[in-house]
Subunit: 294 residues, 2 copies
């Protein structure tokens, strides 16, 4: 299969749906809707929503059914980026080659645009109603709330912020990566599977895939911050070192980190070995992300 | 009925449930759970969750069924206070007589604690599952997402922030009040009613009650900021004037504002005239809030 074409096609579908589900920038108060749209359409890879769709397909589901939930994942991801970039947090001026949300709209509106995206995400999931059993939607809302909350993504960001400027050990680094990135990857795969009526074995396999892929994704992020091409990445490299951030290369060196990422990619693919050809996109996505340079 | 005793008893039930539904402050990362609990248990009146319960009772429902949703409303309200108090927003040092969240935990943790409370709220609502039809829970999640989002509460805060230091007219003031306070009051009443199987007439009556009560509540807030007792309020008075905030007294004067509040309270009670004795707590709550001095 042509994974690049697959990703392009899915990205287009996701972006059309995001446009449909977000209030227009002519809706009052316009500035907050402009700010929400600015960051949502700042050119992400749409990995998380595509994983929702690919996970659904892997267990015999279809993209139409899970599209609202896929978009909800992307809104939650985007809100987390807006808030992470704030002066009180990572204080970043650029993201994906563009000025960060608070640089364009000011801190107050950026905080509120993030809040609104998070709030909106949970409403968007309810659009799955009528297509699947309501109980499955409720399960997904609970999963997402846990994955994004204080014992999930937000918890990872808390530990990340508190770890700046001091030495951390392997356990703490793993906690940060598993929570900041891992929880939402996990929720993406599980969301697609749950809404598509996956059985327990399938759900378990996809969860394991997600955990390995999420970790690989974050290790590669760390590696690219040191060894990547600033132009391709759309942001300055070396920012983790400057902020004395906890990263894999800081703890293991660059080469060992690359090896660890490869190992995680292999484990991800191994986890879904019992799923049939319908899971091929997930396998290809794993290999593709393992080789990404931006 | 003894409305003070009613409010005390319900407040106790709500606070026990909030304690149950929130992660303990021994759960990692502890600081964010401490921060969440610090603001949730900073001594609010629990008006919104009590309105959820009273609305349920008014249409023959019961508190046990709606308690998770009632707590979700309070978590959303609390997150909004934490974020409103931030330096980039209203920059308040005190709330309810205590240092604001960011004063105690720092800006980064305060932002994240707010994010986590909002995220957690949507998970908590799913705990209603099994007690009521799942479709009603989904309806409530959609209502809450709209009420709290960019066309609801967050939208009101955006316009409020942008209106500081410039003259605004009656329409803008009404927009701010209806959105910042009104939308969540409306959602509280509708949540209790929807989860309890209210019919269309009941839902309409309770919605009208909520809109009048929400406006009265905000006008009284404005009045107390000028004419209230700082000790009873637990915060300095006069802060709206200092910040050149849009308020009712600024636009209409103190006496006229008080009259308008009384009129809204009367309209609230009139709206539910067709509901029976089961709606007495709602009537008493309206009169009680009309006379509040803190």
């Amino acid at each position: 299969m042509d994974i690049k074409e697959y990703l392009r096609a899915k990205r287009e579908i996701v972006e059309k749906a995001l446009d449909l589900y977000l209030p227009g920038d002519d809706v009052e108060p316009k500035i907050v809707h402009e700010a929400m749209r600015y960051s949502v359409f700042a050119g992400g890879k749409r990995i998380r929503p595509i994983l929702v769709i690919a996970s659904a397909e892997a267990v015999g589901g279809n993209e139409e059914t899970v599209l609202p939930a896929a978009c909800a994942l992307e809104m939650i991801h985007t809100y987390s980026l807006i808030h992470d970039d704030l002066p009180a947090m990572d204080n970043d001026d650029y993201r994906r080659g563009k000025p960060t949300n608070h640089k364009v709209f000011g801190e107050a509106v950026a905080i509120l645009a993030g809040d609104a995206l998070l709030t909106h995400a949970f409403g968007v999931i309810t659009r799955c109603s009528g297509k699947v059993d309501d109980n499955r939607i409720i399960m997904v809302i609970r999963e997402l709330s846990e994955a994004a909350g204080s014992t999930g993504m937000v918890g990872g960001q808390v530990v990340d912020i508190l770890s700046e400027g001091r030495e951390i050990n392997h356990e703490e680094l793993l906690f940060i990566h598993r929570h900041k990135t891992g929880c939402l990857f996990r929720a993406a795969l599980r969301t697609g599977a749950i809404l598509s009526g996956a059985n327990d074995d399938q759900l378990e396999a996809l969860t394991a895939y997600a955990e390995h892929l999420g970790l690989a994704f974050q290790i590669i992020d760390d590696v690219l911050d040191i060894a990547g091409d600033a132009e391709k990445l759309g942001k300055k490299t070396g920012s983790d070192i400057k902020k004395q951030k906890a990263t894999y290369p800081a703890l293991y060196g660059l080469e060992k980190s690359k090896e660890l990422a490869v190992k995680e990619i292999e484990s991800a693919v191994e986890s879904i070995k019992d799923l049939g050809a319908a899971a091929d996109p997930l396998r290809e996505i794993a290999f593709y992300l393992g080789k990404r340079d931006s």
